[in-house]
């Protein structure tokens, strides 16, 4: 009996004891997708043929590489990460049919560890959105309740893991896109420090904020996957040459003496009371386990959303300019000249939210506006990062809600984009400061999961994993999840 939700260690043990083979895991994954994905719609495409072949190739590595937990185990990739020979669309029409000649470093490292790519999962087009409703293909649904959004932009990754279709998936996080869907889907999502994981092969949305990370069933699984993908890569100049800690070894199950910062700015106005209560209970639990709670202040936090929505669109306006119909992807037919080919291609190829951000960013960088918008946003970004650095002089981690709101129904998001932008208030500051953060489920409210966010200092993934793991082991969520999925996994 295979259950991906039982975690990677259980799968490794079953493989090593010969109870299952990589082929069985691939088949189980494909079968689960077939059964459930007509409702959930997490996968843009599966690569069953490639996966079955890979399963045979990696069979030998399962037995010979004791220390390698990921050998023989399937995974899914958010469709903004390139994989050689596999269509990569970023859930956009403009990249329909695009087959990259290169593989993202993170995926390459998973393959090196014996991982098996099952398929590519849905996202908000070019990772712009918080609901996965901005996909040009279809919306993904929340496995806890299919009427609800799974969050975004890595909604496909979170839903696929939560529904037990794959044991883990990679997502990308620019303003919360790993943590928020993990929170909405009741799974673990880790955004590493900027520069911890290579961005090579990740189709850039906002280069100075984007970071790849794992979405998993447990904190331990997040530590295992991060260990495999983290570390210097000569193909990404922004990837840091900083030693990679022993993340699995860091999971001591103990938070005694750790100082936990709680910022009033992240627990007050704008946070749904049910979310605040759930997070407060989690803080109390950590305190009861021996951690010290320290009130902190992040005075510039109220500028974070405005700052983000200048920097990210500015970078996006430039990053997405290459999708011009000249070399690959979609090209509009019946263009009279070069300019009309560009404008017809981009008008038809991009969705509304992408166009909105390209326009916003183009404006922010325009001559005469640069100093007032982009430059000031960069200055504010520095101040926000300094707020966090000052806080870390007094605390080891900061805890906060991952999302200020509970998951909402599909189509329920506001027609006003600015209102939608506000729901990233708890996650965006972390990207602006480049810090690592993890979302771990802490409660279920009205049948929908709530996530606790634990934010660490630069390159200190080890400590947030340790706190999250300790919390997870004592959290009431395990029982709630058991109640939800109890008999679901066959």
């Amino acid at each position: 009996m295979i259950d991906f939700r039982k975690g990677l260690r259980a799968l490794q043990k079953a493989l090593q004891q010969g109870e299952v083979t990589p082929q069985d895991l691939v088949l189980h994954s494909l079968t689960t997708i077939e059964e459930q994905d007509s409702v959930i719609q997490a996968f843009l495409r599966t690569e069953s043929h490639v996966a079955k072949q890979r399963a045979q190739v990696v069979t030998s590595t399962v037995t010979t590489r004791e220390d390698n937990v990921l050998a023989g185990i399937p995974y899914a990739l958010k469709d903004n990460m390139c994989y050689e020979g596999v269509e990569t669309t970023c859930a956009s029409k403009i990249l329909a049919g695009y087959i990259p000649p290169h593989t993202a470093t993170a995926a390459h490292r998973l393959d090196h560890a014996g991982g098996i790519l099952i398929g590519k999962v849905n996202l908000d087009e070019f990772a712009m959105g918080s609901t996965t409703e901005n996909s040009a293909y279809f919306s993904t649904h929340n496995p806890w309740h299919p009427d609800y959004v799974p969050g975004g932009s890595s909604g496909g990754s979170a839903a696929a893991v939560a529904a037990g279709m794959v044991p883990y998936a990679l997502g990308s996080d620019t303003g919360g896109s790993i943590r928020q869907p993990a929170s909405f889907c009741g799974v673990v999502g880790l955004k590493p420090t900027y520069g911890r994981v290579s961005r090579f092969g990740l189709v850039s949305y906002a280069s100075s904020l984007d970071q790849i990370g794992p979405i998993t069933n447990s904190v331990e699984d997040a530590a295992i996957v991060l260990s495999a993908i983290a570390g210097f890569d000569e193909r990404d100049a922004t990837c840091a040459n900083v030693p990679v800690d022993d993340y699995v070894g860091a999971l001591t199950g103990d938070v005694k003496g750790l100082r936990i910062g709680v910022a009033a700015e992240l627990m007050g106005e704008g946070i749904d009371e049910r979310v605040r209560n759930a997070v407060q209970k989690a803080i109390d639990l950590l305190q009861s386990l021996g951690a010290t709670v320290v009130p902190i202040h992040l005075p510039h936090l109220s500028y974070a959303i405005a700052t983000y929505y200048l920097i990210a669109p500015a970078e996006a306006s430039s990053n997405l300019a290459r999708f011009d119909g000249v070399r690959y992807g979609y090209r509009a037919p019946q263009a009279d000249n070069l300019l009309s080919m560009y404008s017809k291609t981009r008008s038809a190829g991009f969705g509304d939210e992408v166009k909105r951000r390209i326009l916003l960013g183009t404006y922010a960088l325009s001559s005469g506006y640069y100093d007032a918008y982009y430059k000031r946003a960069q200055q504010m970004r520095t101040l926000i990062a300094q707020d966090f650095q000052q806080a870390y002089e007094h605390v080891d981690v900061i805890v906060a809600p991952t999302s200020p709101v509970l998951p909402f129904r599909l189509g329920e998001a506001s027609d006003d984009p600015v209102t939608n932008y506000l729901i990233d208030i708890c996650t965006i500051p972390v990207n602006l400061a480049g810090l690592p953060a993890i979302s771990v489920p802490c409660d279920v409210v009205e049948g929908l999961p709530v996530g606790l966010q634990i934010i660490g200092n630069m390159f200190d993934e080890a400590t947030i994993l340790r706190v999250a793991d300790t919390y997870e082991k004592h959290s009431p969520f395990a029982a709630l999840r058991e109640a939800k999925w109890g008999g679901a996994a066959q």
């Binding site: 990569t88 189709v203 850039s204 906002a206 100049a237 430039s318 300019a321 011009d324 325009s366």
Partner: protein, 476 residues
Amino acid sequence: MTYETVIGLEVHVELGTKSKIFCSCDTSFGAPPNSHVCPVCMGSPGVLPVLNEEALRLGMKAALALNCQVRTDSKFDRKNYFYPDSPKAYQISQYDEPIGEQGYVEIEVNGEKKRIGITRVHLEEDAGKLNHSPFGDGSFVDFNRVGIPLIEIVSEPDLRTPEEARLYLEQIKAIMQYCEVSECKMEEGSLRCDANISLRPYGQEAFGTKAEIKNMNSFRNVERGLEFEQQRQEKALTRGEVIVQETRRFDEATGSTISMRGKEDAHDYRYFPDPDLPRIIVSDAFLTACQEEIPELPAAKRERFMQAYGLPAYDAGVLTTSRFLAEFFDATAQQVSDPKAASNWLMGDVLAYMNASGESIEAIRVTPTQFADLIGLIEDGTISTKIAKTVLKTMLDSGKAPKQIIEEQGLVQISDVDALTAIAKAVIERNPAAVQDVLEGKEKAIGSLVGQMMKETKGKANPAVVNQLLKDLILS
């Protein structure tokens, strides 16, 4: 009214790296279209640029050689524009923090030194090349050139004539070649030049309205294009017309400039720091190494050749246009007693030979020592100047030492009076009329007798010895 011309040049120099600036593709010229490309330089989704340190090293060397103040902490910016020659739809360049600023080079105009200011030197990547079908059925883009490292050298508006512009450009080329920064082949596009030119009434401080001239693809065409534009603007101003700020293209066939686009079409490039590339931090050790790699530059060499070897300014100028030629001369000059003779032979016969064979001086098969030996053999009278020309040609053809050639071909000059006396007597006997002329004091008549002596000895007789011998025999 008379007008003063004001010119500033923007020079692009391809850096001589083996691979491109942000990927590992080959940079060699002349490959089939789109054969030197990869996902990175093609701007495929998800790829990232990584700086080639060699490009930075060469750029730094160039900035230092151009006497710039260099930035040890600078950055790359994106210059955004849509055009099919730009696969990312932006060019990675440097906007407000170039690696070098406030430099200068010296040129010599009519024997006077003049300092031309350099505003900035910055690093950037080259764009692709569009080829428009002659049949009008489409345009094709070749991405081989995309990502080749460039420096852009922007001069101050210090140039006053098209000739100065050419001299400045030649100086830039020489400096780049000396530093081994670039081969600077204009015909291959590894040196490209755009010019801003305006006119103002003499004595007026404010600049006139400028035109930017593009597509001048040789040193001569830079001068031609600017001469045309200077005259065009002067005529217009004299007629009371207003000069419009515009970009004009030089047309090689007609030698004229043609309007391409006006100022209103100017782009907003939306420059911003490239978030894919960390700041460019140059260590002291790196900078010192760059500094140490800069050799004696052409201006200093020219000065030294005039001082140490007594060369005229013209010779020193010609010999220092190429670092190889200068070093060849330098090595020769140290081994001869008459460096001016070496200069004459080098600038004359040697360069003519290389030109005729279509080879650059670097391809010369003769070593400076062999060349110095030849000069020595002329000086000590072993061979005549005439024979030396033959020997030199054989040296250039074969790379053999002059002594070996002289020996093999029996070309040693006959200076021995005893050996020449018999022949001289025979010549005198056969030419009584010429002898009579000599006796009557017609000095010139001796020339025809000398000529016959040379013919008899197949040119090996020492002309000076023969001259004296004939005079002695006739007049005694």
